[in-house]
């Protein structure tokens, strides 16, 4: 079955990364805050 052309918009790529990236960055920030206690 020949697949239809489906050009990916750069906006869609940015949006997809943002959807997974924002919660991830939030989680990393929380962990960094926790890790900082080792040096506090």
């Amino acid at each position: 079955m020949a697949a239809k052309p489906q050009k990916s918009s750069p906006l869609l790529i940015v949006l997809a990364w943002a959807i997974v990236g924002i919660p991830w960055i939030w989680g990393i920030t929380q962990t960094l805050k926790n890790a900082a206690k080792l040096f506090g």
Binding site: S8, I19, P23, W26, I28, T31, A35
Partner: protein, 452 residues
Amino acid sequence: MPSFFDRGSQIAGPGFSRWLVPPAALAIHLCIGQAYAFSVFNLPMSKLIGLTKPAPDDWTIPQLGWIFSIAIAVLGLSAAFFGRWVESGGPRRAMFTSACFFAAGFAVAAFGIQLHNIWIVYFGYGVLGGVGLGIGYISPVSTLIKWFPDRPGMATGMAIMGFGGGAMIGSPLAVLLMKYYATSASLGVAETFLTMGVLYFVLMLFGAFIVRLPADDWAPAGYVPRVAANRMITAGHVPVEAATGTRQFWLLWLVLCMNVTAGIGVLGQASPMIQEMFPGRVSAVAASGFVGLLSLFNMAGRFVWSSTSDYIGRRNTYMVFFVLGIVLYAAVPTTGHMGSVALFVAAYAVILSMYGGGFATIPAYLKDTFGTMHVGAIHGRLLTAWSVAGVLGPVLVNYIRDYQLAHGVAKTDAYTVTMYLMAALLAVGLAANWLMTPVDKRHHYRAEPVEA
């Protein structure tokens, strides 16, 4: 089943960007990685009746510990059992199924918490959730390898880094939700489980929606296979049934098992270990910071080491893990005797980066050894090594410590034998990795080379 889940409808058309596939994989792994943060529920679930302190009918910590153990054991078993099904149906069907099982696991466990029935919780989060974990873990692996034949280590490392990162979201999210739902009559645990199940279900569906398979004849622009340059990268494809009958599969099983055993026991015991090895110098709060730091190195190592393996080769990468790991484990007791917290922390940070790196590099190692045709299914079967290591690692660390203490060894020295034993386990892994050779061509699916 609607055609949306047919393998044919998952094939990307011309112009589809492969950079949409890693976020799809991350949407799955960031969710199922929550399993690593399950211990955040242990304390509240041990006082669901007593609320402020455990009542006689409350669940004990050892009872609760089984929830995570069952989930990890079922993860390995379901990855092995469903690997072929995941491979044949494509990533979308697998991701959707994983989302259903994982979310259902939360919902059933919430019901069990509400009824205060531990067996329902075991079945919900442990069994149903464990199936979601196993299918979800392997669902994007072979798809990523096919989209990134030029950088398979980096691609799978990115997804598996998400599994390490999932705990970093799951733990603070659970704390926030329990705080939000808590009342004078409830700790809000069941409501938190339900909410997390719904949130994870939505994010995992997003992954299933955007994921695509490359067409059979697709390759990145300008890609030239490096097969001829490295004899450890096969040009053939070994079917999963044949792969599990090869010496190489079991050598890699041993490589993964030893690497994970050495890391997982330490990860679970990190907080008391640093406090006991440096009494009076490391507080409980600082020890929790140490655990956070290890989580960061565990996550970062997944991406850094697997990306590095694209350049130095998988076998060499594991050689570094084992040789450096042996040196560091052997040096840890000395850092304790020296009283150097900084050296102790630095040694464990590197060890945990290699623990994560081992998970992330293994799919590309399998692809190099067995080809891409059934790499997801072969990966699934190899993950039984994780199930074994998940029991072996903590048992070795905890029981040897208790044995040492019972025989009058000081707390500061209670981990010395364990560290030397971990170094010995890594030496076994080193030997297994050393013995790795290309798979004999008689196991290949076809006589002539086929490059994905």
